[in-house]
């Protein structure tokens, strides 16, 4: 009987705590969101399952969790901790991205810059609350709505907050269709939402090939901290546009990004062990993340309205909301909200320009913050 009791204490049931239950319920909620609502399923499903895995209790002497030296999960988590996975994901994103709309309407790039205001205003908010400079910078980057960038910067500046920041960033990215539309409707009139934009011009293949090389040189010389992310993003794009490395581009945008997404999502989820994740700081990070996302969306919208004061050919201000860089979800949301006002007004292509500019902008912002707090 004593043996049985001893065995019981080594099982998950014997050490189960309320915190573990809460985290498992959150994990199940993520899985439900992915399957039922189709919100970012490629991310939320592995993260949700990882949360369940990470919250099964075990005895301390067993080396099982992501934080236990030598465990299998710790080797997978190494890619997150050392910032290896985010640049690989950027390689895949680059190989998927078509910069044509950005090249055909360059003024929309500025909306991608304006939306980064969310990052820096949240940095101030986090400092005000009492987070250290490094922690505030890592929290602020949630406003970039770019999961890999958020992980990259928090791994470098505030590794102890990585789990909370990654979960907050990916949760808000998944909730783009819920968070953004009310802000869009609040800050624009019906007339503005119905503005039609001209068809983008055709872009030559030569423009598409030269763009990633020169854009990388500009961005990397200004903010060298963004080098790993933007280097891989533009390499991926060059693989695609050069047309001579189709095999490599295919691997980057299919097999490679899929493998890395699984490993990253799962290990980030598994890092949310109740003991380290359920803290008042995590709640504050979630609150600041929501504020950051809201400010970023509003900044993009208001900047588009501001630009319209000087432009003959008006921009539909909704496309400014896509500057938050959650690719391609925020562009898709812009398209849907635009269709509500005018079923023939297709904004998707236009919204992709600030959307991809936002990816570049948030990587540059991360590079700047990294170099400031190094």
């Amino acid at each position: 009987m004593q043996l049985f009791v001893e065995f019981y204490h080594t099982t998950g049931f014997g050490q189960f705590a309320l915190g573990n239950l809460m985290m498992i319920v959150i994990g199940l909620f993520f899985i439900a969101l992915a399957i039922i609502k189709d919100y970012e399923p490629l991310l939320l499903l592995p993260i949700g399952f990882g949360m369940i895995v990470g919250n099964i209790p075990y005895i301390d002497t067993m080396s099982l969790g992501v934080y236990d030296e030598g465990s299998v999960l710790s080797y997978i988590y190494w890619g997150v901790k050392q910032g290896v996975f985010p640049p690989l994901i950027f390689l895949g994103i680059g190989a998927m991205t078509d910069f044509s709309t950005m090249l055909s309407n360059p003024k929309l790039v500025l909306l991608g810059a304006a939306a980064q205001m969310g990052i820096f205003l949240t940095l101030l908010g986090a400092l005000y609350i009492g987070f250290s400079g490094e922690e505030a910078a890592a929290i602020g980057i949630i406003g970039g709505a770019d999961g890999p960038t958020a992980i990259f910067l928090s791994a470098a500046l505030a590794p102890h907050l990585l789990g909370s920041i990654a979960i907050a960033a990916y949760s808000y990215m998944a909730l783009v269709p819920v968070i953004q539309p009310p802000i869009m409707r609040l800050l624009t009139t019906r007339k503005e939402r119905a503005i039609r934009m001209p068809q983008p011009r055709a872009v030559s293949q030569r423009e598409k090939i030269i763009f990633p090389i020169v854009a990388f040189l500009i961005a990397a010389f200004i903010a060298p901290g963004s080098l790993p992310l933007l280097g891989m993003l533009f390499l991926g794009n060059l693989l695609k546009e050069s047309t001579v490395t189709e095999r490599l581009a295919n691997s980057a945008r299919n097999a490679l990004i899929d493998v890395v997404t699984i490993l990253l999502g799962f290990s980030v989820g598994a890092s949310t062990q109740a003991g380290t994740f359920l803290t008042p700081d995590s709640l504050l990070i979630f609150g600041l993340g929501a504020a950051s996302f809201t400010v970023a969306t509003a900044s993009g919208l208001l900047s588009a309205k501001f630009m319209n004061l000087f432009l003959k050919q008006k921009i539909n201000p909704l496309v400014g909301a896509a500057g938050v860089s959650a690719v391609p979800d925020s562009a898709r949301v812009v398209h849907m909200v635009g269709l509500e006002e005018d079923p023939d007004n297709h904004l998707l292509m236009h919204a992709m320009a600030p959307n991809v500019a936002g990816v570049i902008g948030s990587a540059i912002a991360a590079g700047v913050l990294w170099s400031v707090f190094l």
Partner: protein, 96 residues
């Protein structure tokens, strides 16, 4: 950890290396750098077509990708082999 909500936290930030920084200055500088980088990229995109026009004098002409018409052998190989077998049988004097 206890958090102290204080405006002074914004103006007096200590970096890991001990440098004293100002959060407002970081925000302003950060936004300026992000805008500067993206404005430069915008300007580069604006001049790119003109640059390519100038470079057209030295670069080989750009041909649009032409889709090759389907070749005879692109047809269904099953049909091709059935036709070949039928023709062979016909030549051998077999049932047609």
């Amino acid at each position: 950890m206890d958090r102290t909500f204080d405006l002074q936290n914004i103006t007096e930030v200590t970096a890991q290396n001990g440098d004293k920084l100002n959060g407002l200055a970081i925000t302003m500088t950060g936004m300026v750098i992000v805008f500067l980088a993206l404005v430069l990229i915008t300007l580069y995109i604006v001049i790119l077509p003109r640059l390519l026009k100038a470079l057209a004098l030295v670069l080989p002409p750009e041909h649009p990708a032409v889709k090759k018409p389907p070749r005879e052998t692109d047809r269904d190989p099953l049909i091709a082999s059935a036709a070949a077998a039928a023709w062979h049988q016909h030549r051998q004097g077999g049932p047609s």
